[in-house]
């Protein structure tokens, strides 16, 4: 509604009249007032810290060389409240799995893998996506037609299916999973970047810069890219969540990270046959997985509100 729009504009005006300036510090301040950002960020910080410091944390070895049959499927000691017979296993707050390994430490080591894969995959797709999307959106014409069709090809294809196909073909390994996710996920960034670049290109300051004699490269990187950053950051955060989902799904299907490397997806897969006798195997892994994904999603949603209130509902 025009009315409301006008009001918003004037609101911006009022803010400036008070001398407030939109600096990075301001954004941080605004971000710190947004509950979603705060919650999301704290979850992420905790998870990242645990993952990074896993080797030095006083937790059990996630992949012990020996298997102790007596340790198999021990319930967490606090499960005695639910009527489980807990005789042993004080040290296992999430219990142990079918091979007697500590679930808690495997979850933490699993976070290492998941976060690494997800971050790297998102980073690569971001780089590919931004470069292609920027080129396509800024130049338009035939270049755009070719790149945009490619983007659309990959975009209409569900990322997970593509990743599954690639992971299955390339064979299960950490690098291949990263590659598979990057290949299937870049189109999202490219599409976003292209759309943004197309919009920014129409803004008159780009035209003004051209009128001053600026070259395309200069305009692309000093005008267009900085003005597209906000949605990219949001999308990247949500992208990490998606990548974690894809990675764990791949592992779940057995084409991702291979055992004995601890990975959330595989741990959940192993938990299914034991659902009745050892429900803790699947539940806690899943809970941590959910929390992590939720954390990145929350951060993304919150950032969207912080960086640009008008971007609400931009998902997909």
């Amino acid at each position: 509604m025009r009315l409301r729009k006008g009001l918003n504009d004037r609101l911006l005006g009022w803010k400036m009249a008070g001398g407030a300036r939109e600096t990075i510090a301001d954004m941080i301040q605004r971000g710190s007032r947004n509950k979603m950002v705060v919650i999301g960020l704290s979850v992420i910080v905790v998870m990242v810290a645990l993952a990074v410091f896993a080797p030095v944390l006083p937790i059990a070895d996630p992949t012990p060389s020996e298997i102790h049959p007596e340790d198999q499927t021990l319930p967490p000691h606090w499960f005695r409240f639910f009527g489980y017979n807990v005789s042993k296993g004080d040290g296992h707050i999430f219990g142990t799995d079918e091979l007697g390994r500590d679930v808690f430490s495997r979850v933490i080591w699993g976070a290492r893998v998941s976060l690494l894969v997800a971050t790297l995959a998102v980073f690569f797709s971001l780089v590919i996506g931004v470069l292609l999307g920027l080129t396509a959106g800024y130049f338009g014409g035939k270049v755009d037609y070719i790149i945009a069709s490619t983007i659309d090809l990959f975009w209409t294809f569900p990322a997970f299916l593509l990743a599954l196909a690639f992971a299955a073909a390339l064979g299960p390994s950490l690098n291949n999973v990263i590659l598979a996710i990057s290949i299937s996920y870049w189109a999202g960034f490219a599409r976003l970047m292209r759309g943004q670049a197309l919009a920014v290109r129409e803004r008159l300051f780009v035209e003004a810069s051209r009128a001053l004699g600026a070259k395309n490269i200069r305009i692309m990187f000093t005008h267009v890219l900085p003005n597209c950053l906000a949605p990219l950051i949001v999308w990247a955060s949500i992208g990490v969540a998606d990548a974690i989902t894809i990675e764990s799904s791949l592992s779940f299907l057995g084409v991702g990270t291979q055992p004995p490397t601890p990975s959330w997806g595989y741990m959940l897969y192993r938990g299914i046959p034991y659902l009745e006798e050892a429900p803790w195997m699947a539940t806690f892994t899943g809970l941590v997985l959910l929390l992590t994904i939720l954390g990145f999603n929350l951060l993304g949603d919150g950032l969207r509100d912080v960086l640009d209130p008008r971007m609400k509902g931009l998902r997909r």
């Binding site: 025009r2 009315l3 409301r4 006008g6 009001l7 004037r10 609101l11 009022w14």
Partner: protein, 424 residues
């Protein structure tokens, strides 16, 4: 104005927006009257609250906005109006006579009713009380309270006095359902940008038919189609049957605005509010639309409230003009009087800053500075920072609305105390 019947009477209307950043007073105590069969122009720059006036009248103030004070009397019969005004004066007298404690109680009550926010009555100082309830105008709440106290003593024949009819013609007292039957039927509005103000996924015929069947109870397809065609012909659309079948995006800007006018006039409203009806159009199309509006007003006998920033447009079309600045009406006069003798420095500045065709000058005279921040409460006149003639008193006291000649009102300290000889 003797002899003319007021159709819409706005008294002390205040509309505020409650935002995280603070309270924005979009309309700050507006008074004006639209008489029957006349067109009133509301002129002002971006953000002066002219559109908000329209939305307040229709009670369609968006989002965090609220009407916090005032009355909008619509189609109030003469006798009710007279009795109401009489009672208001009585109530004012009564209020003036009442003690400070009583005043505090009243103010808290009134303020709660109108702003929805409770105030601790006992902590109010006399100055604050005077601010909330200015002594020269007693708000609705107080009048009602007074009436509730004294209703029993009124004679049974005095229906107005016995509370029932007193404020029943105030649009702000209407229920949502009553309001809906007024909107579109008695008061209708034309929006600024026809490109965004028509529903894009329904055809012209559907949108027109919906309104006509709603207010006139016509449901028969054939009769409805005929009626739609008639209305489209009324706004001089050459091929109404073709246009009926089309979606808004298939029409040009001028055509869309005609359809919008058709929508507004389909139920022959007694008041038409046109909010910048030609701003989005080209000059030649603007001329066509203005001609159309003027002719339609003449033939249908409705009143029009034309909101615009273009002084040329009001000069062409309107009988009377209100000039708005920062949520207040600073000057109001008959069109000829206003253009001949602009009394408020803002009006004069605006007229001088407007480049006129065929009167080329080397330099246009300007109004320095920019429109003020509406979030700040104004102590005095809102124009003080940009005014060349401002004195100290301008920054401190809000200027009163004075009638300097019959029908010519100004809110400016240069003119307070200089009421015209024939007035009151």
């Amino acid at each position: 104005m003797p002899g003319r019947k007021p159709l819409l009477e706005i008294v002390g209307l205040r509309t505020q927006f409650f935002l995280h950043e603070g309270v924005v007073t979009a309309l700050d105590g507006i008074d004006f009257t639209v008489y029957e069969k006349e067109s009133v122009g509301i002129v002002g720059e971006t953000g002066c609250g002219k559109s908000m006036t329209a939305f307040s009248i229709l009670r369609l103030v968006p989002g965090p906005g609220k009407i916090t004070a005032g009355n909008i009397f619509f189609m109030e019969p003469q006798d009710v109006r007279q009795r109401r005004m009489q009672l208001e004066i009585e109530a004012q007298e009564w209020y003036r006579r009442s003690s400070l404690v009583e005043k505090k109680k009243l103010v808290a009550l009134y303020d709660y009713r109108d702003t929805g926010r409770k105030k601790k009555a006992k902590k109010l100082t006399p100055a604050q009380i005077d601010k909330i309830v200015p002594p020269d105008r007693v708000p609705t709440g107080v009048t009602r309270y007074y009436l509730a106290q004294n209703a029993k003593t009124m004679p049974a024949s005095d229906k107005v006095g016995r509370a029932a009819a007193l404020f029943s013609f105030d649009l702000l007292t209407r229920t949502d359902d009553q309001m809906r039957s007024i909107r579109g039927k008695s008061i209708s509005m034309i929006f600024q940008d026809p490109a965004t103000a028509l529903d894009p996924v329904f055809t012209v015929a559907y949108q027109l038919g919906e309104v006509i069947s709603l207010h006139q109870g016509i449901y028969d397809r054939a009769v409805l189609d005929k009626k739609i065609e008639e209305v489209l012909k009324l706004v001089r659309i050459a091929a109404p049957v073709n246009v009926m079948k089309q979606y808004p995006h298939e029409l040009s800007g001028g055509m869309k605005q005609r359809v919008m006018i058709a929508l507004a006039l389909s139920c022959s409203p007694s008041l038409l509010i046109a909010d910048e009806p030609t701003t989005a159009l080209d000059v030649t199309i603007q001329a066509q639309i203005l001609n159309l509006l003027r002719d339609l007003m003449r033939t249908t006998g409705s009143s029009m409230m034309l909101i615009t920033h273009n002084l040329g447009v009001v000069a062409e079309v309107c009988d009377r003009i209100c000039v708005m600045y920062a949520g207040r009406i600073v000057e109001e006069a008959e069109t000829f009087e206003l253009f001949a003798n602009p009394r408020h420095p803002y009006t004069a500045g605006l007229l001088a800053a407007f480049p006129k065709l065929g009167e080329r000058k080397d330099e246009l005279s300007v109004i320095r500075g920019t429109v003020p921040n509406l979030m700040r409460p104004f102590q005095g006149c809102a124009f003080v920072e940009r005014c060349e003639k401002a004195t100290e008193v301008c920054g401190e006291d809000m200027p009163r609305r004075v009638e300097i000649s019959p029908g010519h009102f100004v809110s400016c300290h240069l003119w307070t105390g200089k009421e015209g000889p024939n007035v009151r």
